[in-house]
Symmetry: C2
Subunit: 602 residues, 2 copies
């Protein structure tokens, strides 16, 4: 079976034909990222993914991480992969070149991340954590903090993590109890316990820089009293050399369903009173810093989900083309078997996987592109509009995308029949790995509440309406093409229902119906996402139609025609169902609230 | 956290209040199975499940099966569990007492199986295979075969398996190549290779009796030339003692996503020319024998799915009642946290899990009850009608139920947040174990095709219409209750749409639209199942309303009220969406067929 991770033709289609990302190079910030450079970057990423990361995917899953004598060991194969990854300068793709970053457009980094995560998502968790921790230092650090830590992080010499969750403070971050006591020299003594810390410890790097959320003695309760600290595993001397161990101890690692190559650590800080941290940003503004990072982190989780789903789809596609089983349904009795892609049920499955994963790819890359547009924009109004679009889209990019990604992984396993359930093929690992994306960085239930309660009303509803305007532009475009007008009409009707549904729910928030609205938050996220998929696929179809008009090569023509057929499938079979779901949401059924707690069962 | 597997109150509700299973005891065949006896049986099963099977669920998952020197070893804890299971005489609950069975009504055995499989489904696979192999001997065996094998199987002294699948013959059974050559003494020499054989080898028992599908030399191609053979691991002498090893070798076991406690074996038969089998049933009638067993096997797979889903639901419910996280949404800022069951999104999740799993329990028990009604019926027309109902329902009981069961297991994991992803709680194992039920005993795609192509037209459509009549009776019942009339109306409308959709698809089968119909087979299975869930939940609500009218105890009243609220939730939020899906099916979208094979991607 061919080794596959992501369809290069489709990645290129989104980058160059749907978004025209090379136009960013007209701006100083991205001048070097011409179309040609972008292609080189994607090719390099794809090579590394296929040749180095994918081959150790299963091995690392089986070996897992080990913990002994207080030290975490990651799978052996990750050491070589990590060296190559560092050498390729992939850790800080979009970050400030002053500190070792590559200054790449976000959109381009997403293409690379699509390959990396599709090939070996557990391995990639190490790298994204380093980038994330580094980004906090870049954004909120003092000059001294940057000089001490940042270059070593962005170049992968040192690792990073993020210490947020505690046993009693998961979705409710404000309940955390880790404390920080100010010392005379301005540093803080940290003590507390954290759980579910990805890369909390690792033997890949010589030092780890941990951003830690904690409460300064006497600070207000809840999120308003949370501060952010930088806590290195080994203290760093002023000359950059490593000092003493900083009393931040990994107490154990979780045994998990998947992402076995990523150690999920329980951390004890200051157990011996010797854990020193420095304040990162302002006192009691830790949550604000988290929020600044949250969009990027959640977008990335969406990418993890898509990467698993896209790989699962391509594996299933290859298998369906090769696996011969059963004669064609309309063939005469005794006819020879055909590849299962010829069977209608398999085709429907594959087409469903294709359209969802491609729509999701477009959506995620589009959010990345909006970020890049902010970077190059010089107009504050425009920047605000773009930021509003991103803010509204993030819960969909995380919550909706990972919900669907898990379903796609399950469909992708199913195409393999019994083989899909074995470890002989990557499908079952992709499904297990993917499952975490629905949970971390805010569960998908939290995403749904975020969309409903914060994002719909953002800028007095302006952000949502700006998004509607974007969708309407694609619809208007499609309506000019007789071949797409009827599909455009379905998207338009769905969008109208969505506006109505959003209006109803947003209105209910300020009334006695507030809990009913929240009971429909997740179904609303579903239909919101379905509508956006319809938009993205229509946009793809419009683009494909334009290209077809230009007499493309035969192979390209098949690809473009596939885009149109895919859009038709999704818009005609998924969107009408989404409309029915919206009608249900609008009825405001209260059963879930009416149910007596004892009535759920004994 | 309380140890839970299935809600006893709900199991009793289905047995006694919805189906009134004790009425079977009016018939000679089941005279001893009075209400009191049934309760004792369920209590015994529940005890064994909670005290012996559940405690080794995780341990067995982690230990798994091992294979060395040609011998499979199952998890150590299974030996004790198996001894107790045998002693309790649970292996052949419904089988002929002459041969060691218990002669129990199927419906009652399903209640026991609900507990057993919810507690430890991988363990139960050993037992169901013994029962299944034994049943083939009971149904098709000669007196000699029965005397030699059957009692030792039904009492669990010997094991059983089922050798069907081959590397190139999975869904396409007719492609199998294992051969049988007749010997002078009337036995057959078998040679070939089989894969995916559950309990193909085990160290739980001293001998294993393998039913094997093979092709007699010179037999027709395809399914018409397949015969069934009995092949013991060790030959059995006429006096019942064990003879020589029979050259049927386990060549290895699969490494799988789940059901780690169940060895999935590759088997080589006659590698040294010494594998002897005896014909079971008539030559070339092996597939007919398989079909006779298929309904029971598929119903049982549905039960495995439900058992995982029901356990996942109850675990989630308990966790949601205990886990405190976040203040109530409408509480003043700084209010203390509440159990997460108070949060609307969690409640909706739980109610969705509850209604699906309860509706599925009713459906499966109902199918079992239909079997029992056949057993006690003396009217051939009635027997045929009941058999028709079963035949139509089986693809739903297997395909729809396991599709939904997997989703419920995923929801049940999600309620636990990050904890659900760890092996500290059973949720992730239930999800992994459950995943196989969508694949084996005919993939769910095969189930969908079976429903569409065979079952809708069964007895010229009479079977399907008989099922419609059953649903209509419940609707008529509910319509007399002002409190349920509007819900009954929604079920009625949905049923009308279903008939229309079924008519359209069945009509298309004989036309050039046949492939289009098959492309919608799985979506049709979905809406078929949704409609039946609506029926079962309405039936539950009708029953609950009747009980409420009789001034029940407070605790019971809460349970009954929960039934009504659950039915309302499902019928008002799921069925309207099912109607929209039916409308989509009826449009006959052909995108999946139109798609060029190359258009799926490169």
């Amino acid at each position: 079976m061919a080794q596959v991770v992501a369809d290069r033709r489709d990645v290129d289609f989104v980058l160059h034909e749907q978004l025209d990302v090379a136009r960013l190079s007209r701006h100083d910030q991205f001048a070097e990222f011409t179309g040609k450079t972008i292609d080189l970057i994607v090719s390099e990423a794809r090579n590394l993914a296929l040749k180095e990361l994918l081959p150790c995917q299963r091995e690392a899953d089986e070996e897992g991480c080990t913990f002994d004598n207080g030290q975490v060991h990651v799978p052996r194969a990750f050491h070589r992969a990590y060296d190559l990854f560092r050498q390729g300068e992939w850790i800080a793709m979009c970050d400030d070149p002053t500190w070792g970053g590559q200054g790449m457009p976000r959109t381009v980094s997403m293409a690379a991340d699509n390959y990396f995560n599709g090939a070996n998502f557990p391995f990639m968790l190490h790298n994204i954590l380093i980038h994330g921790a580094g980004k906090l230092v870049e954004r909120f650090g003092t000059n001294q903090q940057k000089h001490l830590y940042l270059k070593n992080m962005y170049t992968g010499k040192w690792g990073g993590s993020m210490l947020l969750t505690e046993p009693e403070a998961g979705s409710d971050v404000g309940a955390l109890t880790t404390t920080a006591v100010k010392n005379d020299d301005g540093t803080y003594s940290i003590s507390g316990s954290k759980i579910f810390i990805s890369s909390g410890d690792t033997d890949l790097v010589e030092n780890i820089i941990h951003p830690v959320l904690a409460r300064i003695e006497g600070a207000p309760a809840g999120t308003a009293g949370i501060s952010l600290f930088l806590v290195p595993k080994y203290r760093v001397n002023d000359d950059g050399t490593l000092g003493a161990f900083n009393d931040i101890v990994c107490a154990g690692i979780e045994h998990k369903m998947g992402i076995h190559g990523s150690p999920t650590c329980s951390m004890t800080l200051g157990g011996k009173g010797g854990c020193i941290g420095t304040l990162l940003g302002a006192e009691n503004k830790g949550m604000r810093a988290m929020f600044v990072m949250m969009n990027e982190a959640r977008l990335h989780v969406g990418m993890q989900g898509l990467a698993c789903a896209g790989a699962s789809y391509l594996n299933a596609l290859n298998y369906a083309r090769e696996r011969v089983q059963g004669a064609a349904l309309t063939a005469a009795k005794g006819s020879p078997g055909v590849p299962i892609i010829r069977h209608p049920d398999i085709r429907r499955n594959l087409l469903s996987m294709k359209t969802f994963s491609e729509g999701m790819r477009s959506l995620l890359f589009y959010v990345g592109f909006l970020e890049d547009m902010i970077t190059v924009s010089t107009d504050d109004t425009d920047k605000a509009r773009l930021q509003g679009l991103i803010d509204v889209l993030i819960p969909v990019a995380k919550g909706y995308v990972t919900d669907r990604a898990f379903e796609i992984c399950s469909q992708g396993l199913q195409v393999f029949g019994g083989y899909g359930y074995t470890k002989e093929y990557p499908q079952e690992q992709l499904l297990r790995d993917c499952r975490i994306t629905l949970i971390y960085e805010g569960t998908n239930g939290i995403q749904a509440m975020d969309l409903l309660a914060r994002k719909l009303s953002l800028n007095h509803g302006r952000a949502f309406m700006d998004l509607v305007t974007e969708v309407e532009q694609t619809i208007a475009h499609a309506q000019k093409d007789a071949n797409l007008a009827s599909l455009a009409g379905i998207v338009q009707t769905t969008l109208a229902h969505l506006k109505e549904t959003a209006g109803k729910l947003a209105g209910d928030l300020g009334t006695e119906n507030i809990l009913t609205a929240f009971a429909h938050a997740h179904p609303f996220l579903d239909v919101f996402g379905d509508t956006l998929m319809g938009w993205m696929l229509l946009w793809r179809a419009v683009t494909a139609r334009e290209r077809l008009a230009g007499s493309p090569k035969k192979k390209d023509a098949v690809f473009y025609q596939g885009q149109i057929t895919g859009a038709r499938f999704f818009i005609r079979t998924i969107l009408p169902v989404a409309q029915a779901k919206m009608a249900v949401i609008q009825t405001g059924d209260t059963s879930a609230l009416d149910m007596a707690e004892a009535g759920f069962g004994s």
